[in-house]
Symmetry: C2
Subunit: 150 residues, 2 copies
């Protein structure tokens, strides 16, 4: 799926490729600023067109997301041979209308905390960046010269 | 390994339990503030006592980490039945002495970018928090009443 030029272990993905990977991802990590410092939470995600939806429960920090909150969502997957990571930077807003919520429910997202009062959040991207990594034999090469790092 | 009280799907882990999980983790995500906004990068990690080490290459944003930079490192693992996530909040500093570097090399960390000029960074925690998640039958229960979420 990803053709790296020779000797290019890290491939910068197109937005299209990044969304292909996001479509297959079920787990992501939400990064947001809480009280002036970054925080990170695992979330179940679903791609919905060119946005991401996740579900959360009241009483959590996620529930304090205000409208148009700036967030990051990262998803990745790695094996010993290859890996990818996609980062969506965007704004988060809670879904409020019954139409929006019905649509979000149709995506089959699971909640982390079983509660009847879960709600859905949509992350609308302002920037999507992805990388694909190839771990060839070069990955096994070790330094052997620590003095380089001083 | 993790005994949840009945009907408690999310268990707050002790620091000891969190480090047990970190010791088994090879992949983490580093969160740092770059130019006033959060950024996130996958990194290979190794636990070294009660700190974490990762390796990175010059010319990356990670290479711009200053001494005592405030960072987060998150590691997680999930199956359909259970999962965990541990977040280390701490300060990052580049390893400079040949002794430190030789010790870091002994941890067997792989680099993302093959280069002879990789360097090592140690994250010394100020706070470690972990959660273990049990996804029982309740995870399958769906809402059925979207109007709750408005």
């Amino acid at each position: 799926m990803f053709n790296h030029p020779t000797d290019v272990p890290i491939l910068v993905l197109t937005e299209e490729q990044s969304w292909q990977l996001l479509s297959s991802a079920e787990l992501g990590r939400l990064v947001l600023i809480v009280g002036g410092r970054p925080d990170i939470f695992p979330v179940n995600i679903a791609a919905d067109g060119r946005s991401l939806i996740f579900r959360t429960a009241p009483g959590t920090k996620l529930a304090e997301l205000s409208v148009n909150e700036q967030v990051l969502v990262e998803a990745d997957d790695f094996s010993s041979e290859e890996g990818w990571s996609v980062v969506v930077r965007g704004t988060a807003e809670r879904l409020e209308t019954s139409q929006e919520i019905a649509h979000a429910e149709s995506l089959g997202l699971h909640s982390w905390v079983p509660t009847l009062k879960d709600f859905y959040v949509r992350v609308t991207p302002t920037e999507v960046s992805g990388r694909h990594f190839l771990f060839g034999p070069q990955r096994e090469r070790e330094l052997g010269e620590g003095s380089d790092s001083a």
